[in-house]
């Protein structure tokens, strides 16, 4: 897998820094970090499903929402223990993701993006109408059992989740399967021509993406303790996830994490000046400029700069 000592050193340094964070920053900042951690999980999951294979999903909240709703309904309405309901939620999300497979086998590009958008709108409307006694209808649910109390515990929980996801996805993407997934994004026909089954690879990418999305959604709802359809199945949420993955750097693991932290911070930083949804004006503007300047994201910009100023290079 081409692992080097400096990989371990960098991960170890990163993990140590992140776990030391509660000692360094205030409680308020820590709450911002929690959201950044969850956003990073969602962005990594989006990147596994869409960023690598090139099958852009605009319906990612569909998967997150299914995970979140499943565990919320199980724990609140049927008194199932969280330890059981979260794995069930993940499995249900993975099953639901196979709905994406059917269109993905036949259509590519923009059409696939549109189907996923349609799936998200569909579930948004169905959640409000079908069995409101279970889903809580338009108003959603509150008073869902939470896993942690207080900012510090919430931070450790979300951080551990993000690191577990990031490291396992990082290892996975260094295997041959990961390479094949990225190859699909470049040229699906070539992958097919190399004698690999693109259907199985796509299925694998979708199931992995759904696994992470369901896990993230389930933990997120048990952190928040409430769930509402409008906040979840929202195009603004899609936007936040996709932008985090792309601005940070698609097809990398560190990229979506950088993007999530950068954007959550930007949003928090703007809060004193623009309290409401107007913040997205600046936020979106910066995202648009960065994206137009370098579609490969911050990771790529940093790497280019590093290449240019690398010590000991004559030129």
């Amino acid at each position: 897998m081409g692992l080097r000592w400096y990989h371990f050193a960098m991960w170890a340094g990163f993990i140590a820094l992140m776990y030391a964070m509660p000692e360094l920053v205030s409680k308020g900042t820590l709450r911002t970090f929690i959201f950044a951690n969850f956003l990073a999980v969602f962005a990594i999951s989006w990147d596994v499903l869409s960023g690598r294979t090139g099958y852009i999903s605009f319906g990612h909240p569909f998967l997150i929402g299914i995970g979140a709703y499943t565990t919320a309904i199980l724990t609140k309405r049927f008194d199932v223990a969280i330890e059981i309901s979260i794995p069930i939620a993940v499995v249900v999300t993975m099953i639901a993701s196979t709905l994406f497979i059917l269109p993905a086998l036949r259509i590519r590009g923009s059409y696939f993006a549109l189907v996923t958008l349609a799936f998200m709108e569909l579930i948004y409307q169905l959640v409000q109408v079908i069995r409101p006694d279970l889903t809580g209808g338009t108003r959603g649910m509150s008073g869902i059992q939470t896993l942690t109390r207080g900012a510090v515990n919430g931070y450790y929980m979300s951080l551990s989740l993000m690191l577990a996801v990031a490291i396992s996805m990082w290892l996975l993407m260094r295997t041959r399967v990961g390479t094949a997934l990225s190859a699909i994004g470049m040229s699906e026909d070539s992958v097919l021509g190399s004698g690999l089954s693109t259907t199985r690879l796509k299925l694998f990418a979708f199931l992995t993406g759904a696994f992470v999305a369901g896990l993230g959604g389930a933990f997120y709802v048990h952190y928040l303790g409430s769930i509402a359809p409008r906040a979840l199945f929202d195009i603004n949420f899609v936007f936040t996830i996709i932008v985090a993955a792309l601005i940070g750097g698609s097809s990398t693991i560190i990229g979506p994490m950088v993007g999530a932290f950068f954007l959550t911070y930007l949003l928090e930083y703007l809060r004193p000046y623009l309290p409401g949804a107007e913040r997205y004006f600046i936020y979106g503007g910066i995202a648009l400029l960065l994206y137009m300047y370098q579609p490969k994201g911050i990771y790529h910009i940093v790497m280019q700069a590093w290449e240019r100023f690398k010590p000991g290079k004559s030129a």
């Binding site: 269109p103 590009g109 549109l114 936007f239 792309l246 409401g276 949804a277 936020y283």
Partner: protein, 283 residues
């Protein structure tokens, strides 16, 4: 029954108008313009600002909305679509970001609350128990007039045929001496103008809110997908299928389900017949 037919016709006319600008871009530029809904948003608010806040004549308000819409379309082509050189994923994502930026720009300028747009022509007509507001009737008539003229423009005029040529094969069109850049500019301009006009009518049909761009975008997507690429007639027919479906579902089953069947239709058509019901055989 009469009521369903009348309301269905009015709603379908409005939907056809909304989808028309989106079809143009999707057929000719082969670009998924996710910021299309933002034309409607901006068109509605420009009309609101000039006609209702400044008290200008309503026709001037509509005209200004159309001009701003066309200018937005041109600017979007120049500043986003052209520099990205046909990278579809990049265009989709940057137009999505742009739509969010414009939405929050509107919130910044006009606030988060929804506004009621005064009807362009006040008054209602009663016919066989159905209430028809004059502005909805006007929307349907305008929509039909535009559809017919657009049909003739695309099929009969030189520029229209050049647009078709570019949509089929940009290289072939260039060899035949068509300036595809100019054709693209025209298409984006028309699309923006149509979107802004549709926005004025759509906003008076529902209301003016900063998030009003999502619903028309999804309706346009549905109509274009089900109708198929490059088919104005297909757009018209499918606008009626979806319009009537929504009215019938609202009247007979439940108002909450009105969008559900549209989504099922999109997903079904895309999976079973990806080129749409009336589109060209390709993909």
């Amino acid at each position: 029954m009469t009521q369903i037919i009348i309301q269905g016709l009015l709603l379908s006319g409005l939907y056809a108008l909304i989808a028309m600008g989106f079809t143009l871009i999707f057929s000719i530029g082969r670009v998924l313009n996710l910021a299309y809904g933002a034309y409607l948003l901006i068109g509605g608010y420009v009309y609101f600002y000039f006609a209702q806040m400044m008290g200008m004549p309503k026709l001037v308000g509509v005209l200004l909305a159309v001009i701003v819409g066309a200018a937005m379309g041109l600017a979007k082509y120049r500043m986003i679509v052209k520099p990205l050189k046909g990278d579809h994923v990049a265009i989709e994502i940057s137009t999505l970001i742009l739509a969010i930026v414009l939405q929050s720009g509107v919130i910044l300028a006009f606030g988060d609350s929804s506004k009621i747009l005064l009807p362009i022509i006040p008054g209602v007509e009663r016919l066989a128990g159905a209430t028809i507001p004059y502005s909805n009737l006007l929307a349907a008539i305008v929509s039909w007039a535009i559809l017919i003229s657009l049909y003739f423009f695309v099929n009969k005029t030189h520029t229209g045929r050049a647009m078709q040529a570019v949509s089929m094969d940009a290289k072939g069109a260039a060899i035949s001496g068509i300036d595809s850049d100019r054709i693209n500019m025209i298409t984006w301009g028309i699309s923006g103008a149509l979107g802004a006009l549709a926005g004025v009518f759509f906003a008076s049909y529902t209301q003016l809110t900063p998030s009003m761009w999502v619903a028309p975008l999804i309706i346009s997507v549905a109509i274009v997908i089900v109708g198929g690429i490059g088919s104005i007639i297909g757009t018209l027919i499918v606008a009626h299928i979806i319009g009537f479906m929504e009215i019938i579902v609202t009247a007979m089953i439940a108002p909450e389900l009105r969008g559900v069947f549209t989504m099922v239709l999109i997903i079904g058509v895309l999976v079973i017949r990806p080129q749409g019901l009336f589109g060209r055989e390709e993909l």
